[in-house]
């Protein structure tokens, strides 16, 4: 917006006679450029102001809950909205519902764990897909595949969530999870992968759903990066007798290494903040750490969207929600800043950033 203003200058209103005296001063003001430039600058600062505005509002709103819960807000595992129908109690001068308790550890871990599962699956799949699209497929076919990747990225998350809740989750619970659960050896460290496979709402389904949403982001970025690798080193590698796999591992991927890390962190940013799809398949188990890979769990975003109706009526609850939002905001901001720094170092490829591509 700011960039286009100066280019509009050359054939400005200076040559044409003013139609009316009255509007002249105003017209000069508008055509002069400097107020527009000023407006442009204002427009450029606004995103920053908005971010600060959100941050400051959240911090102010979060204070009572953080004061009430203390460090337990991050380390505690018990989350309870308390009993609003009972008599309110006062602790340390703060009025709250009896039994109210905020321990967000399960939600924080849930957010990180689902994203981790998503990345573990999405990274090899996306990089493999990107390599195949660039190096294996004929150009026209590759274009179609690229198009599908971008279409996949454009599916609204609520649709993926609905499909996950109705079809994919039950399929995982009845057809996939039992195979894992029954075949993992009964060793002490592996008990997390054994046990009740649930009903399709839980950690594994959430992670897989996120993987589906993250793959297009990582794959599309990786495809653009790999396309930028010059042909000569690759031809050289093949001339030296390397197999395609060795060539990819030793030449192509190291060439775009840092960019790939950036792509992955972009995907991570999406996974961390994804709300509605996860809320629909996570099982909404408030305040409980998942007992195994298939158990119902909760993420920060899922708690916010599922329980806002209850929280909004109570000052302390809404304060706790502000604190949760703050934690999520900080985590995603850190992931995004990391991604920018890494990606900018490497290349100027157009990156699919953010949600709803």
């Amino acid at each position: 917006m700011t960039a286009s203003v100066p280019t509009a200058q050359p054939d400005g209103g200076a040559g044409s006679p003013p139609p009316r005296r009255l509007g002249r001063a105003l017209k000069r003001r508008l055509t002069d450029g400097s107020p527009i430039r000023w407006l442009g600058r204002g427009g450029a600062v606004i995103p920053l102001l908005m971010l600060l505005f959100v941050l400051i509002t959240l911090i102010i709103k979060a204070i009572p809950a953080l004061e009430f819960a203390g460090p337990k807000f991050i380390t505690g595992t018990r989350w309870n909205f308390g009993a609003p129908y009972g008599t309110p109690v006062t602790t340390n001068g703060l009025v709250h519902n009896a039994g109210e308790s905020f321990g967000a550890l399960p939600e924080i871990l849930g957010t990180l764990a689902t994203s981790a599962i998503a990345l573990i699956i999405a990274i090899p799949v996306s990089i493999g897909a990107a390599l195949v699209i660039v190096e294996r497929l004929p150009r026209r076919l590759a274009n179609y595949f690229g198009l599908f990747l971008e279409l996949l990225a454009g599916i609204p998350s609520v649709i993926i969530g609905l499909w996950g809740a109705l079809t994919f989750g039950p399929f995982i619970a009845h057809n996939v999870a039992p195979i894992i659960s029954n075949n993992v050896p009964d060793w002490p460290g592996l008990s997390f992968f054994r046990g009740d496979t649930g009903n399709g709402q839980g950690l594994l389904t959430s992670g897989l759903i996120l993987a589906i949403m993250v793959i297009p982001i990582i794959a599309a970025t990786a495809r653009d990066l790999i396309r930028g690798v010059p042909i000569l080193p690759r031809e050289g590698a093949i001339a030296l007798g390397m197999s395609d796999f060795e060539c990819a591992r030793k030449v192509t991927l190291p060439w775009v290494g840092a960019g790939l890390v950036g792509a992955v962190v972009l995907g991570l940013g999406r996974a961390l903040g994804e709300t509605i799809a996860v809320a629909m398949v996570c099982g909404v188990a408030l305040g409980s750490l998942p007992t195994n890979l298939y158990a119902a769990m909760i993420t920060i975003a899922a708690n916010l969207v599922q329980n806002i109706d209850t929280a909004i009526l109570d000052k302390m609850d809404i304060s706790a929600f502000a604190a949760l939002a703050l934690i999520l905001l900080v985590i995603t901001l850190l992931a995004n800043i990391g991604a920018r720094m890494l990606v900018r170092k490497v290349s100027g490829t157009a990156l699919p950033v953010g949600r709803g591509l």
Partner: protein, 367 residues
Amino acid sequence: MAKNIRLVCTAAALVPLTVLAAACSSSSPSKGSGSSPNAASASGKQITETGSTLLFPLFGAWQNAYSTANPNITITSGSTGSGTGIADASQGLVNIGASDAYLSSSDIQSSPGLINIPLTVAALMINYNVPGVKKPLNLDGTVLAQIYKGKITNWNDPAIAKLNPGVSLPNLKIVTLHRADGSGSTFLFTSYMNAQDATDWPSSDVNTTITWPSVPGAAAETGSGAMVTTCGSTKGCIAYIGISYLSKTQPLGLGEASLANKSGKTVQPTHSTIATALASFDTNTPASGAQSLINTSAAGGYPIINYEYAMVKKSQPSAAEATALKAFLNWIVTTGNTSTYLEPVNFEPLPAPALTVAKNLINSISG
């Protein structure tokens, strides 16, 4: 041409400014009923409702009948769960927030202008999908609490067998279903368990949203409809569902448990047992309308019944809107409480004392 470009640029630069201004001005939403839901509503031609999925089937019938009789009034309704109903009404987003739960002390504190008007009487069933068991199972608050806490995990548990002598219970894992959204049904169900056994189900776990104990295989469902369909497709499930869904649960083969009341008798949810339970409470309805009808001491009374409430802001955005709303609510508690509407969903009409309270509360609404 260039002029136009500049104008467009200026306009474009102004957009974020206005957005920011709007964001700033809306940062204090609970300041009162200044902003009306929308223009059509302010003229008294539209009445909006969200909330209880338990009441929803009946509200739909009310809505149809009333707007057929009054074609100039448009009524919109949403089956969102009681929690959302209360929240929306308190924020002035809708005229009526339907809820199975009355306002809590913290609700009243945070939204002083909100009143709860009793509309009709409903009941909550405990449904189960246990193939082979024909006779209704007997359950009580203690056993239900143990089941939802994961202490009882199989239908052939001795504690269940003890309540059901002579019934051969299958060796089948219990799958507990609970509501994921803020729900009046959750409030009623947890109230019942707390009233029956305060040690096994403490009062801090009575709310429209609670922290459910972690039980392997337990599932969270959004809305009464999801409870019905999931329970229907899950062998061994147990769920709490409003009696308005009886016509949906029966074809799926779900049973309705006979629940123990305060006197220890186990009772099926029927027209007469609900009426009996209601009779044991109806003389002392408080002027606020907020009354728990849980765990009746009447021997033949069903223990989980409740008033369905309309959460309404006492001061409506305009006089026209208040008049339209009052007319509709008055119609609900009179014509809407006849068997034509209540019979299909197995609800009971408001008893006389509650009706008086409801009419007084409706009359206190102003524009």
